[in-house]
């Protein structure tokens, strides 16, 4: 439905009005005012109003103010007393986990009061101290028995990558009214590293049309693949399959064949900064998805013995194949902090990619970006050889992205992202195969 100019003007005015109404004009003063949003703030305001009414209106309002002050005092003193003799220790069984994985969490509490303590809340990072599936808030405890040491164990589901705890952790109580939370520091024995969620995408797309493109070329360095380049005495651990029996018989000792090894290919994976705030998911959420998709692609290439250079903002990792390299890369990705200076990063990224400033000349280059950044950067000469993965809100004007020659695939953030990534990747792998192989694959699928 098309809106008239007048309606558009009204809509624009209304949006501006809402923007002004929701704008934070004095963010520096928020810390002085935000306590009013808490229940205690509401009751203090009511007590102040009652006192003003008593001072300048009717003296009976002082009785109301006194009742409110009494309620506030009871609501503060009770929880403060309750947490004074309670101490707790938070612990995780593992050092690393992935977003969305179950994480066993343990809380040991000592209550030295001769009475039970009710309604305790663990105030820590919600991302790792939550109650598991579908529960995003930190856990709470109904009661801790009198004069006891108790252990609470539950499965948390980390929601966001990072190194935790990122904030001070407390054991808090607001019982009985929840007006104000009294806190005691919580001891956290060791930190937990939450990796971004990644998928092993399986196959690699065929690059350059040769089967060597997939498995890499052989070089005459001692290895386990390719042609035989020589023989050597047997060493513990050598496979019997590699034993050269004729030579062994001749020398009366085990001799094995030495074969070629595969030359590692390099992947240069780059996440480009978002220059314009996207519509749809929040800006930070979109960047996190860039990281998860990038991590998945890098992980898949690593599993195929590729070396991966991962670059995102100031992060620049060179990961070697093998579990050690993968863990190192995921650790770095987990610890990475996005810059808040988005515009500045976009400008510096443009400077980094001036023509002639090439990185890792023979590497396969893949960039992950939103649609606007793709349109802006793909024109730069440096990005001519890049393959693009575009992640954005896809509307009609973005349809041409899918058919662009240098775009591997485009992911719509408003649809399930993991299933899109998997299906696009599978499609990419099949598309890159020879027509005959593709036909065989199709026949197999049909069966």
């Amino acid at each position: 439905m098309q809106l008239s100019d007048r309606e558009n003007r009204w809509l624009y005015g209304w949006k501006n009005l809402r923007r002004i109404g929701n704008h934070d004009f004095c963010p520096g003063l928020n810390r002085y005012a935000y306590w009013l949003k808490q229940p205690i703030g509401w009751f203090v305001s009511a007590a102040v109003v009652a006192m003003l009414l008593g001072l300048f209106g009717e003296a009976e309002a002082f009785a109301v103010a006194a009742v409110l002050i009494g309620l506030i005092l009871l609501g503060m003193i009770w929880p403060w007393v309750a947490v004074q003799c309670v101490s707790a220790k938070l612990n995780w069984r593992r050092r690393r986990c992935e977003e969305g994985e179950n994480l066993e969490t343990t809380l040991d509490i000592v209550n030295r009061w001769p009475w039970s303590v009710w309604g305790l809340v663990v105030e820590s990072d919600d991302a790792v101290v939550n109650g598991g599936e579908g529960q995003k808030e930190s856990v709470s405890l109904a009661s801790v028995p009198a004069l006891s040491k108790s252990r609470f164990v539950w499965q948390a589901t980390p929601q966001k990558r990072g190194e935790y705890p990122q904030r001070s952790s407390y054991l808090a109580s607001g019982f009985p009214f929840g007006l104000w939370m009294a806190r005691r520091p919580l001891v956290v024995e060791q930190s937990i590293l939450v990796w971004p969620k990644t998928l092993d995408l399986g196959d690699l797309p065929s690059l350059g049309g040769s089967e060597r493109s997939v498995v890499g070329t052989y070089i005459d360095r001692a290895g386990m693949d390719g042609d035989v380049i020589g023989v050597r005495p047997y060493r513990d651990g050598d496979s019997l399959r590699h034993v050269h029996w004729a030579q062994s018989a001749r020398h009366d000792s085990l001799v094995v064949c030495e074969r070629q090894s595969i030359a590692r290919r390099n992947l240069h994976l780059e996440i480009l900064p978002i220059a314009v705030e996207s519509i749809g998911p929040s800006f930070d959420e979109l960047r996190e998805w860039f990281l998860r998709i990038g991590g998945s692609v890098a992980r898949t290439f690593l599993s195929h013995h590729w070396s991966v250079q991962f670059k995102a903002e100031r992060l620049n990792i060179q990961a070697e194949p093998g579990s050690q390299g993968l863990h190192r890369m995921l650790d770095e990705l987990a610890r990475m902090k996005w810059s808040s200076d988005v515009g500045g990063l976009a400008a510096s990224a443009t400077l980094d990619h001036r023509p002639g400033k090439a990185v890792n000349g023979n590497a396969l280059r893949v960039a992950i970006a939103d649609a606007a950044t793709y349109r802006r950067y793909s024109l730069i000469d440096h990005f001519r050889l890049f393959r693009w993965i575009v992640v954005d809100r896809m509307h009609e004007s973005s349809q041409e992205l899918s058919s662009a020659k240098n775009v591997w695939f485009a992911i719509d953030v408003e649809q399930p992202i993991w299933s899109q990534l998997r299906s696009h990747w599978t499609g990419l792998c099949r598309k890159s195969l020879s027509p005959t192989t593709r036909t065989i694959h199709c026949l197999c699928d049909a069966e």
Binding site: P39, W42, A46, V49, A50, L53, G54, L55, F56, G57, E58, A59, E60, A61, F62, A63, V64, A65, A66, V67, I69, G70, L71, L73, L74, G75, L107, W118, G119, V121, N130, G131, Q135, E137, S138, V139, S140, L141, A142, S143, S150, F152, V153, W154, G174, F175, P176, F177, G178, L179
Partner: protein, 482 residues
């Protein structure tokens, strides 16, 4: 998943709603009107609950609409009064604000009960009760209101406990226990004791209320008080005026006449106890018949001060009547009108070089007649200006109320056209003096608490007369020049 109709929230909100309803009905004395006024609120709630669109999007408009209901009723009343000449009862502004809050409180209870909405409903209900409790101290229903408010306080305590537990129970780990009834009852009992002590301390140790001059425009302000105001610094005459009984008399127009030994403008024959006893101090008086009169055989307190010192509710007999103290003031008159104002009690027309004097100030000038007019509502106006027209609107109204000024001369502003005293419909009560001042004839002084409403012409005219010094030759003729 949040749900509408949280019974806990309704339990907090309904007492507040009932308290506000009772206060509005008591003050305006029109419970049917209030009940009818609540119908649109229920209609809006029903409409909102049946709305097929997203309730979250409609919530703001729903609350705004509910808040506007009392003001809409007042507007209808105003229009009916102005154009249709229908007397529809209207509420003072503070009660309209209470009505708005009352509607909002009920509306919030029917919104989808997220944590924030629940708290907003509870807090609004609590504030509504606080405002009402503060207002009802002089009303007959005060005891009932206090009782309901105390009950609501207990419900709020219970609600707070329940809300806190509800926030936690969805994320409990380990053994899930519930707070036993014993512990909950103990907390309620502790709160009861605490509230009792706090109320006693609050009432015993606090100072009396202070004035806040000109702060509240409706009832608390000296400058902007409204006629419909209930109480405060500038009490509104429309509601404070006694209807059925009076315990004192003061500077307030009422429909009630109280017998007293002081000189009055009115004369009512009363044969309830034999022959009428004539007052030896005779003054000219207007006879009244069929007027409301309240028999009184005890001394009435005098209240000469305006504002909140006039500490009386004259509507229904209150249960605990206390003997009122007389409150005196040094003020000579009360004046209502634009300030600064110049009120004349004498003019001088002779200047001997040192002092101004006036010749023949006591003689009444008979050459300037006064005449009786009636305005559209039938009120008598004594016109002192021959060009006065009752139908014209080019007059400014001012009012003067007599307190300590011992004179029969009316303190008049400039360009006076007509004078009105309630039920005085005889022109021989007023006359011009020779020095151009209106006086009340045949009496020593104007009775205390008499209110004169005066109409002054807004047309420009000679405001100040200029005289020349005697040394000037032109001044020797003693003729003033304008």
């Amino acid at each position: 998943m949040s749900k509408p109709y949280s019974y806990g929230t309704l339990a907090v909100v309904i007492p507040a709603f009932l308290i506000a309803l009772a206060v509005r009905a008591e003050v305006t004395s029109h419970p049917v009107f209030i009940a009818v006024g609540c119908l649109p609120i229920l209609f809006l709630i029903a409409l909102f609950l049946n709305a097929k669109q997203s309730q979250e999007k409609l919530a703001a408009w729903f609350i705004l609409g509910l808040a506007m209901v009392p003001w809409g009723w007042d507007l209808i009343g105003q229009i009916s009064q102005g154009y249709l000449q229908m007397q529809i009862p209207r509420e003072p502004y503070e009660l309209l604000a209470i009505g708005s809050l009352q509607s909002i409180v009920l509306g919030l209870a029917f919104l989808r009960q997220t944590s924030r909405i629940r708290w907003a409903a509870m807090f609004s209900g609590m504030m509504l009760t606080i405002f009402c409790v503060v207002m009802v101290s002089r009303l007959q229903i005060a005891g009932v209101i206090y009782g309901i408010a105390f009950l609501q306080a207990m419900i709020i305590v219970w609600w707070l406990m329940g809300d806190y537990w509800q926030r936690l129970e969805s994320r409990f780990v380990g053994p899930t226990e519930t707070v036993g009834l014993g512990l909950r009852s103990g907390i309620i009992f502790l709160s009861l004791v605490l509230f009792g002590v706090a109320t006693t301390i609050g009432l015993a140790l606090v100072p009396q209320a202070y004035r806040l001059d000109g702060f509240l425009p409706t009832s608390g302000g000296e400058r902007w008080s409204d006629d419909r105001a209930v109480s405060g610094l500038g009490e509104g005459n429309a509601l404070v005026g006694a209807q059925d009984s009076a315990d004192s008399f003061g500077p307030v127009d009422t429909d009630l006449f109280i017998e007293d030994k002081q000189p009055s403008l009115y004369d009512i024959a009363n044969e309830a106890f034999g022959e009428a006893k004539l007052n030896n101090r005779f003054n000219k008086a207007a006879s009244l018949d069929g007027a409301k009169i309240q028999m009184n055989h005890r001394k009435l307190a005098e209240s000469e001060k305006s504002g909140r010192e006039f500490n009386v509710v004259r509507e229904q007999p209150v249960k605990r009547k206390k003997k009122l103290e007389e409150k005196h003031t040094h003020a000579l008159i009360h004046y209502r009108g634009d300030i600064p104002a110049r009120l004349a009690t004498a003019t001088f027309n002779s200047f001997d070089g040192e002092r101004w004097t006036n010749k023949s100030t006591d003689a009444v000038a008979t050459d300037r007649p006064v005449s009786l007019h009636h305005d559209t509502s039938g009120k008598p106006w004594i016109a002192v200006d021959q060009t006065y027209s009752a139908a014209s609107s080019s007059y400014e109204k001012v009012a003067v109320r007599w307190l300590g000024l011992d004179s029969n001369r009316v303190t008049t502003p400039d360009r006076l056209s007509a004078v009105h005293i309630d039920r005085i419909d005889r022109e021989d009560f007023f006359a011009w003096t020779q020095d151009d001042i209106i006086e009340m004839c045949d009496r020593d002084r104007i009775p205390i608490f008499t209110t004169l409403v005066m109409k002054c012409s807004t047309r420009p005219g000679p405001a100040i007369r200029h005289y020349r010094h005697p040394s000037d030759e032109a001044a020797r003729s003693n003729e003033p020049t304008v």
